[in-house]
């Protein structure tokens, strides 16, 4: 294997442990959402093994919720696949941003890593990469631990989900809390604060005015571009 030439700095058990200690907020958030998805899927008539198959082949929470809703509404297979593509286009941006930290890495690794790029793993891994105490093996562990918990949670939801009380211990807020903190980690200077505020403003306006899910990609690109030009203008005028 090509990868054998690369030196692994730590034993794999330690990488897994560090990955798990970083991934746990994601997992905590995935449990209620995964259970909810499983319950909804079961109510829409999907057998439990189909839920497992979906979470293995399509590791993308929001697209999976939309798929279940569309199946319940009797949508066609091509319509669901097309909607999935649109909803998941935002990951091209995340994949591009991660490329900065994975430059020169073997394509085999990248192909395996890309499978687990979600909003959550992206946010967590980017924060750690930027802090400088992170490498691709730990990032890969975060991706796959999250995926494993997601598969288990959605399958469990399809099997026994109706027995779980709704909204217990505020667990529905886990991912929101995580995103708030990861956003704080990103605010490393005035330009990041301005870009974040611009993205908030544009995304809310876009969400209210334009139907569909384009607001995430649209607002991110607009805000980052505005932020970039502001930064450049500021540097030039100094």
């Amino acid at each position: 294997m090509i990868q054998n030439k690369e030196i692994q700095p730590l034993k794999s058990s330690k990488i897994l442990r560090q990955g798990a200690s970083t991934a746990w907020p994601i997992c905590l958030g995935y449990i209620p959402i995964g259970l909810a998805l499983g319950v909804l899927a079961q109510q829409a008539g999907l057998p439990w093994w189909a839920v497992t198959m979906m979470s293995v082949l399509v590791f993308a929470g929001s697209a999976q919720f939309i798929c279940v809703a569309m199946l319940a509404a009797g949508s066609s297979i091509p319509a669901i696949i097309f909607t999935t593509l649109i909803v998941n286009l935002r990951h091209t941006l995340m994949s591009s941003a991660l490329a900065v930290y994975l430059s020169g890495v073997s394509r085999r690794f990248l192909a395996l890593f890309a499978y687990g790029i979600t909003d959550e793993s992206f946010a967590v891994n980017m924060t750690r990469f930027r802090a400088g105490d992170w490498d691709r093996w730990r990032a890969l562990a975060v991706n796959h631990i999250s995926n494993f918990v997601w598969i288990v949670a959605t399958t469990t939801g399809a099997l026994v989900g109706q027995l779980v009380p709704q909204g217990a211990f505020g667990i529905d807020y886990a991912l929101t809390g995580m995103f708030i903190c990861l956003l704080v980690f990103q605010l490393n200077g005035r330009i990041y604060i301005i870009t974040g505020l611009l993205a908030a403003l544009i995304s809310v306006g876009w969400y209210l005015l334009i139907p569909g899910d384009s607001y995430i990609v649209g607002a991110s690109i607009c805000a980052a571009t505005l932020g970039y030009f502001l930064q450049r203008y500021h540097r030039r005028s100094q």
């Binding site: 941003a97 490329a99 505020g170 704080v184 330009i191 611009l198 908030a200 969400y207």
Partner: protein, 107 residues
């Protein structure tokens, strides 16, 4: 739907989920990126996180309208302050959950 229908559906969905995640990485990771692109991509995480969060805190899903009184937003303010003060990810998640749980009794 039977097994092969599900396989076709989820296989197709899996493909259109995987390609946007893998193609930019495979292409860009083996290129010398220009500085402007690195600078621009450096602003993408904060922009994406903000664009994911802001509509979920400031709008209602049901009728897609602006709202300043959602419990999600009211809880987000002390959660944000906690995150700024402590910079602890796990702590912020737990504080946010606790406050949201408590808010459920009052709102």
């Amino acid at each position: 739907m039977n097994f092969s229908d599900y396989l076709l559906l989820f296989g197709g969905m899996g493909l259109v989920t995987y390609l946007p995640r893998t193609l930019p990485l495979l292409y860009l990771a083996h290129k010398q990126l220009p500085q402007w692109l690195i600078d621009w991509l450096g602003l993408i995480p904060v922009a994406i996180l903000s664009a994911l969060l802001a509509p979920s805190l400031l709008t209602t899903v049901a009728d897609r309208s602006f709202s300043l009184g959602k419990p999600e937003l009211l809880v987000a303010i002390p959660t944000l302050i906690f995150a700024l003060k402590t910079r602890s990810l796990g702590g912020t998640v737990l504080v946010g959950m606790l406050l949201y749980w408590l808010a459920g009794f009052f709102i």
